[in-house]
């Protein structure tokens, strides 16, 4: 008897598997960063358009790897950083050109739009529009680490066991700047770049015992800074400001050798199924009030024209506090990454990770 019931439930579950699994409402598969699709905006979007947003949270490397494996399928919209698009596109052909006529470009800050268009030009066609921007710098707990100034404090004996950063390329580049070099200038010269990176790698290996952990995602870092496990970290400005709202001691600091500026974008995967929904989402999220809501929550700057007026005073205050005018001029914006460099960096990061 019980077996019969089990059997029946089994078969009902198949039936459900097919009906619910396949035939739900229109969906938008979004490949993005954590926090880029806040729950309330997703709900608002669904109410407005009837489209359900299914977000997968990831980072630049995994985004590329995933799209490469699926050859640009499985997702309707991706959000890579603008510097990681053109070389990847040339090699793996995972995106499709973006049709700017379908984007309400009036909503986008035009200088940023132009910059992104230029940087993502492949075969004469732009492949992305900007979504948000921010910088990487230092997040510091002033109570325990008052004198932190620059990236090389990440290798400072004084803060042993209380340091955290990502084992990713921005850290390499930041430390190269801190050494007084300009890694961006060496993008064209693979050998010189490699030599510089090895030097940085060596410094990171030497400083390894000072590191608490290599954080892998924003939430993890937030947590260890809140709990006091980490006092000096290389992180995004938004993370620092978020923490500042909770604890005045912690704040984002634009390092002396310059914060690293990035722009995250919207790009269409080559085999996106629901392109209409993708454009709808782009236009929706860049609408000033929505972009402002995003910025208020995640503290990152937005590419939305006019959103700045709608953001909280605190958010503007954050920016003014961390970025005096000379710091703004000193922001190092990432140029597009040539293909070769990633392998060089990967190997060096492996070395750092494996070192004892």
């Amino acid at each position: 008897m019980i077996k019969k019931i089990l059997c029946t439930t089994m078969f009902v579950s198949i039936a459900l598997a097919f009906t619910i699994g396949e035939a739900t409402a229109e969906t938008l598969a979004l490949l993005t960063w954590k926090g880029y699709a806040p729950k309330n905006l997703v709900e608002k979007f669904q109410k407005e358009t009837g489209i359900e947003v299914k977000a997968t949270y990831t980072n630049n490397e995994e985004m590329i790897a995933k799209l490469r494996a699926t050859r640009g399928a499985g997702f309707d919209l991706a959000q890579p950083s603008q510097d990681r698009i053109s070389s990847v596109q040339e090699k793996y052909n995972i995106y499709q050109p973006i049709d700017l006529s379908k984007v309400e470009s009036g909503q986008v800050i035009s200088s940023m739009l132009e910059a992104v268009k230029k940087n993502t030009l492949v075969k004469g066609k732009p492949h992305a529009v900007p979504f948000c921007w921010g910088t990487s710098g230092l997040v510091v707990n002033r109570k325990f680490a008052a004198d932190v100034q620059d990236y090389n404090d990440l290798l400072n004996e004084k803060y042993a066991g209380r340091i955290s950063y990502r084992l990713k390329r921005p850290t390499l580049i930041a430390l190269a700047f801190a050494m007084g070099k300009d890694p961006f200038a060496l993008y064209g010269d693979a050998e010189a770049y490699q030599a510089l990176m090895e030097k940085v790698g060596q410094a990171m290996i030497e400083g390894k015992r000072l590191v608490k952990n290599y954080w892998t995602n924003g939430d993890a870092l937030l947590e260890s800074m809140r709990s006091g496990e980490v006092n000096v970290a290389m992180a995004w400005d938004g993370a620092g400001w978020k923490l500042n709202a909770e604890n005045q001691d912690i704040d984002f600091l634009a390092p002396r050798s310059g914060a690293l500026g990035w722009i995250d974008t919207f790009a269409l995967p080559a085999k996106a199924k629901n392109i209409d929904a993708a454009y709808k989402w782009i236009n929706f999220i860049l609408r000033p009030e929505n972009a402002a809501a995003f910025t208020n929550m995640e503290k990152y700057g937005t590419a939305s024209n006019g959103a700045i007026k709608l953001t909280d005073a605190a958010v503007r205050g954050n920016f003014e506090r961390s970025f005096p005018p000379e710091a703004i001029d000193n922001i190092k914006w990432y140029p597009p990454v040539p293909a070769k460099l990633e392998a060089i960096e990967g190997k060096i990061l492996d070395k750092v990770k494996a070192a004892q």
């Binding site: 579950s13 299914k54 995933k66 699926t70 399928a73 995602n217 939430d219 993890a220 937030l222 709990s227």
Partner: protein, 285 residues
């Protein structure tokens, strides 16, 4: 010594202590996970800030309980569907395999048997990448020669199913084979003698005999699929299974929602295990 022999008090006590320690070791992480699912705190750690159900039922922007957490709910549903198809596939192919290796004779049987065992020796990660690469090669080939875009050949739901199936089927084959080996073949002969053909024999006699093994291996297959990580990691597309999804969250730094999911998993699987035990005990009685 063993229970039929006299042994000293110290021996008995120290052994008991060891076992208690062992079980503490076994259950401590699970227990802590479960308890902290009810902690009224933003982080899965002590101190205890009071009892709450919010990590299950909450629906505030700061605190989304599991019952309202669409991403986690979706991934649970994906896992359920994947596990269902993996079970279906591996049980049917595994049973065929058991019949093939126990009851049929053909050339190259030892070679094929060895191949069937191979997935036991292949690390799950390797299985994942080799299937990913092979499907990519096929996919590119299909696209370039026939302009066909076959969804199966890229990471996604069905590739996850196939990847998990590729090693779970071995397990089913082994379990069903073990039972089939105990089967008295004179029963088949008797049925043939009474006028049944080979398929009727298999359907009415052999499969009935194999039923406990098939059901048991189906349960194991389901669970293995449900918690598989290594193979799935490389094959997953836009629909993440629960372990993958949880991994991303744990790596990202976690909220007690993960504890709440873990709690549900622990309670659910414990109940399933107990039910399984109850039924198997009934069957043997």
């Amino acid at each position: 010594m063993i229970r039929s022999l006299p042994y000293s008090k110290t021996y008995g006590l120290s052994f008991k202590l060891y076992i208690i320690l062992y079980f503490t070791f076994l259950f401590a992480p699970l227990l802590v996970t479960c308890v902290l699912a009810f902690n009224d705190s933003q982080f899965p750690s002590l101190p205890w800030k009071g009892f709450t159900f919010e990590w299950f039922t909450g629906n505030l922007p700061e605190r989304v309980g599991i019952f309202h957490d669409q991403i986690n709910l979706d991934s649970i549903w994906v896992s359920v569907r994947v596990a269902f198809f993996v079970t279906l596939l591996s049980v049917s192919v595994g049973t065929c395999g058991a019949f093939l290796f126990e009851q049929e004779d053909f050339r190259f049987k030892p070679v094929l048997y060895f191949l069937m065992l191979a997935p036991l020796v292949i690390p799950g990660v390797i299985l994942g990448i080799s299937i990913l690469m092979f499907s990519t090669v096929l996919g590119i080939h299909f696209e370039e020669t026939w302009k066909l875009d076959v969804g199966l050949f890229r990471p996604g739901f069905w590739l996850v199913v196939l990847g998990q199936f590729s090693f779970i089927a071995t397990l089913v084959t082994l379990v069903v084979s073990a039972r089939l080996r105990k089967f008295d073949r004179t029963l088949e002969e008797a049925a043939l003698n009474l006028g049944a053909n080979r398929f009727e024999v298999i359907w009415y006699i052999t499969l009935k005999f194999l039923r406990p093994a098939i059901l048991g291996s189906a349960a194991v297959a389901y669970l293995m699929s449900f918690e598989n990580f290594n193979t799935t990691l490389f094959l997953v597309g836009s629909e993440a299974t629960l372990p993958i999804n949880l991994y991303l969250q744990v790596r990202d730094g976690s909220t007690p929602v993960i504890n709440a999911i873990s709690f549900l998993l622990i309670v659910g699987t414990s109940l399933a295990a107990l039910a399984n035990l109850y039924f198997s005990r009934k069957e043997t009685q």
